[in-house]
Symmetry: C2
Subunit: 419 residues, 2 copies
Amino acid sequence: MMSVRGLARLAKSRGRWVYSSLESAPLLLELPSHFRNPLQSSPQVVLGCRVIYAWASNAFSTARQQADLRSSSAVEKQVDPFSVVADELSILADRLRSLVVADVPELASAAEYFFKLGVEGKRFRPTVLLLMATALDLPIQRQTSETAVNALSTELRTRQQCIAEITEMIHVASLLHDDVLDDADTRRGIGSLNYVMGNKLAVLAGNFLLSRAFLALASLKNTEVASLLAKVVDHLVTGEIMQMTTTSDQRCSMEYYMEKTYCKTASLISNSCKAVALLAGQSAEVSNLAFEYGKNLGLAFQLIDDVLDFTGTSTSLGKGSLSDIRHGIVTAPILFATEEFPELRVIVNQGFEKSSNVDRALEYLSMSSGIQRTRELAAKHASLASAAIDALPENEDEVVQRSRRALVELTHTVITRTK
Amino acid sequence: MMSVRGLARLAKSRGRWVYSSLESAPLLLELPSHFRNPLQSSPQVVLGCRVIYAWASNAFSTARQQADLRSSSAVEKQVDPFSVVADELSILADRLRSLVVADVPELASAAEYFFKLGVEGKRFRPTVLLLMATALDLPIQRQTSETAVNALSTELRTRQQCIAEITEMIHVASLLHDDVLDDADTRRGIGSLNYVMGNKLAVLAGNFLLSRAFLALASLKNTEVASLLAKVVDHLVTGEIMQMTTTSDQRCSMEYYMEKTYCKTASLISNSCKAVALLAGQSAEVSNLAFEYGKNLGLAFQLIDDVLDFTGTSTSLGKGSLSDIRHGIVTAPILFATEEFPELRVIVNQGFEKSSNVDRALEYLSMSSGIQRTRELAAKHASLASAAIDALPENEDEVVQRSRRALVELTHTVITRTK
């Protein structure tokens, strides 16, 4: 591994791509962290390490207030994770869009549909991956000239951007196919592609993106990274199968739900974070921290998604789209509620084709602490993600530190988001 | 490259897996071949090299007669390509079936549907690949003990079998997704899976097989082979897109049709033949011959498929399923007929939603030599495939020679088949 001085120099040379217009981005106060092994610690220890704990253990409205409090601290200012990589993200999005449009004009509408800003909110996954690329040190085995170092780091950055593109392609492909599988007619308020253009184009566009992802993956010529992302695609399919084919016991099992959630949501971001680390030649330990960050961030993200499906932007139950439960998909809030009210299990087993069953489930949910406990679980995973960043080898370079703070900030964003 | 003597020894050790029950398989007369560079020669030269030419240039019934004549020759007996690898194929099919059933019981019906014998007739692709594996020499860089050679060749054979499995998985995945795209309700007389079980399961089962194929591919840890097969999946998607989105000019273009046919049918078998060669460490020249064999065999196969769609098992027009033309897919016979009767182009451009247009196209086709010219083109490609085998480095080993003859025999089978 190179020295801290060497890393600082490299990080600055990397900074040229990413931060040109962001030199004055404010700093976030680094809270003392005694936490070094997030994976073996109990949740309590983990949660105690960060200011997150105070608001994570409260219900939604309180969390929001405290987050505001936190950001108004005189010495602590947030890094906006999306702004930090905005320029690079924009290039990446253009490249993805033009890839589709140039090669297959017929899929232009699919490309426009998916690669325009806003469908999925922000570009969550590429943001994480670009930040992770900067947050990890670039190890250089021996002394080389500055030119050689710059060339190496440019090549590495390009390969890491490629992981971000591949990840986005796999993600969008899975959205397209999931739409066919779910018979979804809307996704976040925008008519789904299969509704607008038919199942055929959705299947075809998904296959196209998947095949391009694998071509790009093969071009990296790294068999370990190829295996990781092939495993991700397998997990996505497995997760979908788990969701479509649950037994009665599985429907009420928190363990089954978390495994499915890992497969459907967290596997992609965790394994691509690890891929970014592996491409940089990081140690198994550092690569696993990258993986743990992605895994826990992904789980936190999905748990909040499950809450929002019930609450929407309000704090009241039933204001969300209720899309999951109406499709018979039982998520964490209901599972927690079932622990408190075992009679809810009968309704779960009957299914939710009758809207009266949806209403009854919502009643039980409102009497229970299902929503709150789901938020707490999300906060626990967000905290574990944050701890994984803290556990990375120390690095004094300002650019590296800013990316790490941005990654930590993302763990807050994920659990305080309202849409 | 190793000596002919060394090759013979290796081929015999390979023979143990495949030919245990087939020691007495009859030999096919090797016709003298002066042909060494099939790719740069004119079709006439190529066709002149083999007895194929005589019957290939005639229409179907004559071809059949002459094929019978040929096989009744006193000195020339056929090798049945499917019997040669029957034992190994059976193991491979069981492995594919159990992979699906064991991991995802919910897809058991899909597995039963696709991996049972008979859906696609014989296991065409794995047969070709296993024969190609034996037909190619195994190069050994330096002198090694017999035990080491056996171990190496066992490992190589396992990796080549893996290519056959991957190829079959990609093929079946594409069938499943094509069924969704085509709204097909039958495939060769068996209700298609999406008709029986719905689009969702067809998409999901296809994705499952594709992801398993990529996992298996990644496990081979050969980046060149991974690139080849990623390209294949891209070609399959491209071919499907080309078929779904043709302009008026493209619909009447033979060049466009052949490119689409390469993408949809020939890319998989050609690139997997090449992969088998690359895994064996063959030279670029030999790997390209393997590719050319697969490409031309695939093209010949599809051209005959297009003929059979019109003729079925009879020699009369209109006795086939007419599935392509009814789906608006214009194939070689119609394209050749359009060259002779330009007025047919108007009908082609109108499309075939009206059955009267199908009838009119069939009338023109019957007046033209469209069917015959398609058969001739198929025979030309079969001959090119055969020539690629002839151009392989000489090898005196009997097992290698039998596999090569079986590959040549397959080129005959493909163009004389009636279903």
